[in-house]
Amino acid sequence: MITDWEMRRSELSHDCIQNSFIGVIRGVEGNLMAERLADPFNLEAVKEIAKRWALWSNFAEDLFTSAIHELSPQKTFSFWPLSNCPPDTKYWLIPVVVEFWKIRTKIEHKLSEAQQKKDSLNAVVDEIDRFLATTKELNAENVGSYSVLVENLKQAAIEFQMSLARLSVRYIAL
């Protein structure tokens, strides 16, 4: 059963980071490797995805915050038959199984890792924003440092995407 949370995670990971973020960076990298410095795409594209990142970053934050609530076995108590459990059973049983699930899936560690990767990506985006704020065009002098920034951006995005992949959980109950 694929949950809504999983669909949102997949949207962020696949559509935003992989197809959009990394895809656009590949285009810029290709240009830089072929020394097409004059193409306005080199700066404009990165500017745009840095802008989009602000939205995606918030989305990721919401995802992390809601992860445990959405994914934990707590949800099974909304469904038959456990919805039939008496309230006093639910009262203690739910926290117990949630705690056990957290330990077994190492979800908090994975969330923490994903948060770190997100923060790293944030940092690189900030650095690139600073570069773009003071750069109107690429030339032989600044292309070296720009290439490094772009490479760092791609690497950070890939690592973030991998940390999101580790959060993929299909079954909520078991």
Partner: protein
């Protein structure tokens, strides 16, 4: 050559408006996007011109898949004269309301392999006969394991991961699966483009046998060169040897293909490798393999063995292993299938089942006008065709295919050089002229070999030989074979005369008597005899004289003649006199 046109159907890349992802994709893959029918600027080393389609529409603020609209767009580009070379099709299309991230939030059904929209599009294409030849490659990183077989059965030629794609891989995909035009093999009709694709596929494999069939005048040799030129990209050598088999005497065929060792037969002054050897790592093209003589078929069997190709020179003791690609062309399949004329083992090595069959011109209606214009351009002529002429071109049945078209165009230009517009009347007249001249040569068609072979001497008598030599009709020899023939004829003639000289000298033992005997001239003088001998050597031509003089007896004869008649050019080519041989001053007196 203009880059090919491809169609990409992808929900993300095809989204309308400012699309960063599409721009990036184009840059990574060397694509020039076509917007409103025009290619955008800015991409150098363009792999292809790309049209992007999302496959979707907006309905009440929700994104929905649009099968009908998508199929319509596919058909529009497919039915144009410059049709899609390839379709890259995404599998997974997200639908639904827009999420806060700006893309459709997606539905559960979108993710189910059985209900991928890409699969629905593929289904619709495969159900439409008019789209059956559209080459499709799936562009997706989604899970397809459950439906891979189904995708292939619906005509998907290949799969590629979107993020793995780059300009080189895309170019390779297009080369392997796409329908591509060529600068030299002119045409854009589907039958031709499919043949070209097959040729490219086969040329990748390297040292194999490729059988090319097709009616006369369909361009088999040109096609062979296309295969050869494509094979260069995959590491094959640059040597391209052609063997024209029509009208070539049996004895020459063996020598041509396999070569000979020195002294292997009378006249074999030197070793000579055959085309199979000289083309090592390259390509050999056999034109009209149906004419290969029976006595050579056995040796050819070894050469056609794709596992180990062996060639052996005439007179050779050991085999030589070669690495060649062999192209075999024929317009007479029936000969190959006649076991009395052709060994079945030979036919099976020709990969009969996977031959490339060139379509006749009447099946390439889209190409006829294109070719006609091309031939005009080749002649450096600028003329137009009337509507009637265009109609005539399309409706004529072209029994002799592209060659006939070229001949008609040339004929029209020659006969009516001042006309600016060619009409159907000119074609009618040109065809009648051409037909009449063909009628005269009806038994002697450019099918060549059987007619040419009928010219061989009836028996081996000298009189028959002389009559044969004098009456040999070069009309029967294919034009391509006539080119560069003179050196061979010179050498053959010189050899024949040299052999006659040697035999006569062995009878008469003395130069002047020899020539007197040969000319049947009782008044022959020493000086004249010497001149005659030197004339015989000169007939061979400068390039062949050395070979002739390597024969000891001829060398001796010529040396004596030179004593009597000084000719510097020949003297320099003489070998030093053998021990024991003296200048016979007494014989010079006759």
């Amino acid at each position: 050559m203009k880059p090919p046109k491809i169609l990409i159907i992808d929900d993300l890349l095809g989204k309308e408006g400012n699309n960063l992802e599409r721009e990036a994709f184009c840059r990574v893959n060397g694509l020039m996007p076509i917007r409103e029918g025009k290619a955008a600027a800015g991409i150098d080393k363009c792999v292809a011109l790309a049209t992007f389609v999302s496959g979707q529409k907006i309905v009440s603020n929700s994104v929905e898949n649009d099968l009908e609209g998508t199929i319509r767009k596919i058909k529009d580009g497919w039915n144009e004269s410059e049709r899609w070379s390839l379709l890259l099709l995404d599998l997974h299309f997200k639908t639904g309301e827009f999420s806060i991230l700006g893309s459709p939030e997606g539905r559960l059904t979108d993710r189910s392999p059985e209900s991928y929209f890409g699969l629905q599009i593929l289904n619709a294409i495969s159900s439409d006969a008019s789209l059956s030849d559209l080459p499709i490659v799936l562009l997706s990183s989604m899970d397809r394991t459950q439906i891979e077989e189904r995708l292939a059965s619906l005509g998907a030629l290949g799969f590629v991961e979107k993020n793995d794609l780059d300009a080189k891989k895309l170019a390779d995909l297009i080369d392997l699966y796409g329908l591509l035009e060529d600068e030299k093999v002119i045409g854009r009709s589907l039958p031709l483009l499919k043949c070209l694709r097959e040729a490219r596929t086969k040329s990748r494999i390297g040292n194999r046998n490729i059988l090319i069939t097709g009616e006369s005048g369909t361009g088999k040799e040109l096609f062979g060169r296309y295969i050869f030129e494509n094979s260069l990209r995959f590491g094959r050598g640059e040597r391209f040897n052609t063997v024209f088999l029509s009208g070539v005497p049996e004895s020459l065929v063996d020598d041509l293909i396999f070569g000979h060792e020195k002294g292997a037969f009378f006249g074999a002054f030197d070793e000579r490798p055959g085309v199979a050897e000289t083309a090592n790592q390259g390509t050999v093209f056999f034109d009209e393999i149906g004419d290969i003589p029976a006595i050579v078929q056995g040796k050819l069997l070894r050469l056609l063995d794709e596992n180990i190709r062996e060639t052996r020179r005439i007179g050779g003791r050991s085999s030589i292993i070669v690495d060649i690609m062999i192209l075999l062309a024929t317009e007479r399949l029936e000969i190959l299938q006649d076991e009395k004329l052709f060994r079945s083992s030979l036919v099976s090595r020709m990969n009969f089942g996977s031959r490339i069959h060139l379509p006749p011109l009447r099946e390439r209606k889209d190409d006829i006008l294109l070719l006609a214009k091309h031939f005009l351009q080749k002649l450096g002529i600028k003329k137009d065709f009337s509507q009637g002429a265009i109609q005539w071109l399309k409706s004529y049945h072209w029994p002799r295919n592209v060659r006939e078209l070229e001949l008609l165009i040339s004929g029209i230009i020659l006969s009516t050089p001042d006309l600016n517009v060619i009409t159907e009347i000119q074609f009618d007249l040109a065809r009648k002229d051409d037909f009449r001249s063909k009628q005269e040569k009806e038994d002697v068609s450019l099918r060549g070999s059987s007619q040419a072979l009928s010219q061989s001497p009836k028996s081996e008598s000298l009189d028959d030989l002389l009559e044969f030599l004098q009456s040999f009709d070069f009309h029967l020899v294919p034009a391509g074979r006539l080119e560069g023939l003179l050196p061979y004829l010179r050498l053959a003639t010189a050899k024949m005369l040299a052999n006659y000289l040697k035999v006569s000298f062995s009878l008469k033992k003395q130069l002047t008597n020899t020539i007197r005997f040969m000319e049947n001239d009782p008044d022959m003088t020493t000086l004249k005899a010497a001149s005659t001998i030197l004339d015989i050597v000169e007939i061979a031509g400068k390039e062949n004289q050395e070979k002739l003089l390597e024969d000891d007896i001829i060398s001796e004869i010529v040396s004596k003649a030179l004593k009597n008649r000084k000719r510097k050019t020949i003297r320099s080519k003489l070998k030093p006199p053998r021990n024991g041989l003296t200048n016979d001053s007494s014989s010079s007196k006759g």
